[in-house]
Point group: C2
Chain length 376, copies 2
């Protein structure tokens, strides 16, 4: 048996997204064009500007294009293709913490987050010595604006809002939050790791992103919804000037300093995003997202009509969370697992959730619905 066969055999011990039965993931089989590009650039290091100058240009191009999708209307937006949403969230909070220390001398920083906050924000806050304050959820399961207003103190360095929360897929009301943030001179970090490259295409909500005055930083991950390989997360800032608060120069390099946590970085990741933009195109990406969203809406309607599940409002991204009236959610997840379905929880409402990535096709979701109704 040759090496490829051996490796294929080992790989086959874990499931493939192409089976469709992974309903839990915000990652899917990477696009073949993106994989090709990753492979062609696998020997490059984006952290080494002295050697890979063209790669650095390619990253600039990619970041400019992606920033525009996220609402950037100036030439001042910057960012990096990083290891993932967790690093992007970390970099954003690190930057906003250092900015607040420098500009406002805030020494005991706090952030206001949603109860549906991604846990990477909590990790980052622990590392960065930032206190986490939870806002309430309103009846739409979004951050409650009055609650945010009440929680702002002189120590608040940022409000962290979701644009497509991991649990529910809902988008916090950035317009209202932005007004409060502006009045109180507090920056907003938008965790759009999942929704950043969906919302501008499916237009379920008017996602303003960087167009909002107080939005300083955004996380939006190509390896989730631009279908590039892991690791290709996205870290974006509206104004390049604030990057200096996390800028460090290696003494042994004479070139550009780093503004990421990592040093050596995957050049393949950058090339794969480039390939999506240049050779696949945003029209195709938009088509894929609209298709996923249509399936999600359809599923939402069907689930609701069965009368057997509590639902939580019309999906804003291709995620549907639901809670069985007569069965325990955890037990249901186990029963589904026995039938080969991998599905995770949306704990804030004690439900379960389906993420409609491109591998979750119409046929697959039909089978899933049959199994689901058979069990409950």
């Amino acid at each position: 048996m040759n090496l490829s066969d051996i490796l294929a055999q080992i790989r086959a011990k874990d499931p493939f997204y192409s089976s469709g039965r992974i309903l839990s993931s915000m990652v899917t089989t990477p696009n073949s064009v993106a994989v090709k590009a990753f492979y062609m650039f696998i020997d490059t290091n984006a952290g080494d500007y002295g050697v890979f100058k063209n790669l650095a240009k390619m990253e600039k191009y990619v970041i400019r294009k992606l920033s525009q999708i996220l609402g950037c209307v100036s030439n001042e937006c910057r960012g990096y293709i990083v290891s993932g949403g967790s690093e992007a969230n970390f970099l954003s909070l690190w930057l906003l913490r250092n900015l607040a220390l420098k500009m406002k001398n805030i020494r005991k920083p706090e952030i206001i987050v949603s109860p549906t906050v991604h846990y990477s924000i909590l990790k980052a806050a622990n590392a960065l010595n930032i206190r986490v304050v939870y806002s309430k959820l309103n009846k739409h399961l979004k951050m409650d604006a009055t609650s945010i207003q009440n929680l702002i103190t002189k120590r608040t360095i940022a409000i962290v809002a979701n644009a497509g929360s991991t649990e529910l897929g809902f988008v916090d009301d950035l317009n209202s939050i932005s007004k409060i943030a502006y009045e109180n001179e507090v920056p907003i970090h938008v965790d759009a790791a999942y929704g950043g490259f969906i919302l501008p295409f499916i237009k379920t909500v008017n996602f303003q992103g960087f167009r909002l005055e107080s939005v300083y930083t955004i996380t939006a991950d190509p390896h989730k919804t631009l279908f590039t390989p892991v690791p290709s997360g996205g870290f974006f800032v509206k104004n390049r000037k604030i990057l200096k608060y996390i800028r460090f120069a290696p003494k042994y390099l004479s070139r550009k300093p780093s503004e990421t946590l990592t040093g050596t970085r995957s050049g393949g990741a950058i090339a794969s995003v480039y390939a999506i933009l240049r050779f696949v195109g945003l029209r195709e990406i938009a088509r894929m997202h609209r298709k996923c969203y249509k399936l999600a809406l359809d599923f939402y309607g069907k689930i609701k009509r069965t009368g057997k599940f509590k639902t939580f409002g019309k999906p804003e991204t291709p995620i549907v969370c639901f809670k069985p009236f007569d069965t325990d959610s955890r037990e249901l997840i186990k029963a589904l697992r026995r039938r080969g379905w991998i599905i995770y929880r949306c704990p804030v409402v004690d439900g379960l959730r389906v993420v409609f990535m491109p591998h979750v096709t119409k046929d697959v979701i039909g089978e899933f619905l049959d199994d689901l109704l058979e069990i409950v």
Copy 2:
């Protein structure tokens, strides 16, 4: 022109390691077996234990084997394949900071580092609110033990030692440092990002690694010296119990919590390390490192004999740092660049350095020496 050709054309705008003329890098063309494995697992996510259970087992296997190379003699060593040495250094300091807070109530933490410390440690210290204290260098350009002893305070949470410093390739005297650390009950973090998988094979120094009582954490990067693709860094702890200080559980997953900064992680990286261990083998890795080291020693001897350069002692890893007597180092680097050589500085001695990675062959280094002597 098809996509591969277009991508190849873009890739060709930056240099290739295979040209040999990149003398600055600790990364080289990745091993083809490792690349194959990365590619076969490119659709996997090591952060998602619920889906990729076999991948998690593979990572355990890989970490166990690598820990043994780093001196682990128990079953308690753990770790992760992470985005790189910078993340591994960050995770180590984060862990040791949280440990010191919990066990000793240290609220204003300090670390003692070498003047040749890698800048990722400084980045991490900034993010983690750790004060950095610099030890002196002894005449061998290693951390001075007496100086370390004098700098230890009640706030010292770790001593950070180099095993193969980025600038000089030298290995700090871990035995002496370990004695001081033990007597003062201070943990050691060893930044062996570069040397961790070289020293046990070339045996220029008796690298004890985890065998030393006070060594709690080690950084050692497969993507440097096991020739796997970026991003595959290595984060190792001697005792799995202390991992809890950086453990965070995502609420929506029911599985194992994360002990890394990242959430979604490259499964390809893990598979590539696995492939090196299983299908290339440590004997071949050792052979490659010995070859590189032999070339480095040979170059060191030749440089010394010219009488035109100051040298800084026999290399302990395949890095040679030297300083021209009659030319400015920065000017020399520029002149070499004009002839197509990419070489970086060793600023602590105001010299320049050659890193002997496998792409720096005997022929290449002969040409380099000719050019170098022609210029000075």
